[in-house]
Symmetry: C2
Subunit: 327 residues, 2 copies
């Protein structure tokens, strides 16, 4: 892992956080008044064979005027039409952050990290929701990282850059690692993503000696396999969970909000480093999930982000699974 040594030897200077997400509107998000009513805790449990998955709400970032400045290859009227078709506002769209946990005989695995409360005033609720769910971060033994955008790795460490999951090994896609470890790639990413290089150095630093790179197709732990879904970033990876006849795809950012990118798999966002490759991965991954009627989750889908995928027109749609207290 010479790349890792080189990467971790790189600058640990203060980080300009990448502008990966829209500015949050704290005024709109905060409930009014001291007696504001409380929401239910943001976690949801369901079984995958004998495994138990829990999706945990870390909060959201609000994007103002989502019809402009986000989708790079569709005009404002088309984007706003898709939002209206989905009963969403054209003035503001909330982008959720949802982290998946999986209990298997091999221990407690976490998929991506949440924002760590460092990216948007309306995000950073994962710890309180984990507490409500009875999940101790110290019990996490494996962290599987889909890709290195800030909202997926910043929660690995505190603002002071201490490891939040000190008992975890961190598994990263080797293709993703190779890309962000090479500072000469800076010119190959949009300006707004250049801070990612320094953030990668910073967030993985405290896990030195516990980092493992995996290849596409690798079985990372019994029942959990990596599936390449390159394009959103060069090494963007999803995870396939299987136990007995049941399966779950942890699809990360293969599609951001489903009302836009599932319905229109050809659309690209300013966060897709290679839009056409991201579209090809989207068609392949969601085509497979739809064909197998498999369960899936995703990082930016409506909470609790537990459901299925169906083909619809030229694209797909997300079909949420029933909520139930019976796990």
């Amino acid at each position: 892992m010479t790349d890792r040594r080189n990467l971790l030897a790189a600058s640990s200077a203060a980080l300009a956080l990448p502008a990966l997400i829209g500015r949050a509107n704290a005024q709109t998000a905060a409930p009014a008044g001291a007696s504001a009513p409380a929401q239910a805790p943001g976690f949801y449990r369901f079984r995958v064979g004998s495994f138990v998955a829990t999706t945990v709400w870390d909060g959201f970032a609000a994007r103002q005027n989502p019809g402009t400045g986000w989708i790079t290859n569709a005009d404002q009227a088309a984007v706003e039409g898709a939002l209206r078709d989905a009963m969403l506002s054209t003035a503001r769209l909330d982008n959720p952050f949802i982290v998946t946990f999986l209990e298997t005989p091999a221990g407690l695995t976490m998929f991506d990290s949440g924002t760590g409360g460092q990216l948007a005033p309306t995000a950073g609720r994962m710890r309180e929701n984990l507490a409500a769910a009875g999940i101790d971060p110290l019990r996490v033994t494996r962290i599987l990282v889909s890709h290195f955008h800030g909202d997926h790795i910043t929660g690995l460490t505190t603002a002071e850059n201490a490891a939040v999951f000190p008992n975890a090994q961190v598994f990263v896609p080797e293709v993703e690692w190779a890309f962000w470890a090479d500072a000469t790639n800076e010119s190959r990413v949009p300006q707004a993503q250049r801070g990612t290089f320094a953030n990668v150095t910073r967030r993985f630093g405290p896990y030195q000696g516990k980092l493992e790179r995996f290849a596409a197709g690798a079985e990372i732990l019994p029942g959990v396999r990596a599936v390449a879904a390159y394009g959103h970033t060069p090494g963007h990876t999803v995870f396939h969970v299987a136990d007995g006849t049941e399966q779950l795809f942890v699809t990360a950012d293969t599609s951001s909000r489903p009302e836009l990118f599932l319905r229109n798999p050809g659309w690209s966002s300013i966060f897709d480093i290679d839009g056409p490759a991201a579209t090809a991965s989207r068609l392949a991954i969601f085509g497979r999930i739809a064909g197998e009627r498999a369960r899936m989750t995703a990082y930016h889908f409506p909470f609790p982000a537990n459901g299925f995928i169906q083909r619809m027109g030229e694209g797909f749609r997300f079909v949420p699974a029933d909520w139930s207290n019976a796990i």
Copy 2:
């Protein structure tokens, strides 16, 4: 209210509970093992103008082989096809029970009552979820009843028939009251619903002196109006909540599970006393909600049952609203 006096003077003999719901499969529903993981509490809050609504999960009843013996005017292949289209099982369908609460300047209003833990082993969780939501049943000042099927009124009283909401007035549709108050109507309902006559007597008994009948169109409290949706039962009523420019339709059983009766408004179930009238109400109510892009909830929709309605083909579809911690 002579009808009420007559009704309340009727038999208080032990009640054979109406078989309104499928048998629950407790074995399937219960999580395995003593260390079974816990689900998040079942409540969800959202605003309607300055009002705050909370939908509360009372549990569910499981129907085995929902393709048979339930829908009266569609064959098994059609019903099972609709279930498969919705990614639902054809072997078992869970029917949720979801009670809506509304905080307004006039106090705390409850819509229907839940099962009171007396109808299915997998239902009766409203009280624990109310506690989690910080809602004290003693604070309920008004109960608005949509219709008198057992899953909507049994929770008014305990198994010993004490009032669960002793500080509440109970508002009932005058047409519904007139029907079930008249025992000569027994021959006009399916055999399985005949127990409803006795259950009505029993459940409203402890609220004697606090019962109010309302007419279709009446404003029951500021911002909440009754809307006739007859057919499912003779006086089945929905409620329209409005504050400023925002509105919420509390649609009760205008449609049971949306994957069947919204998608196929012409389908009737064994619980519809007048199927064609229920279909006409369904088309009218959901057509209005879709046309106005209004928010709605329903008693048997997937939790948290907060969303919108869109026209789709010859019917409609339910579009869940985003979950958010920001109320």
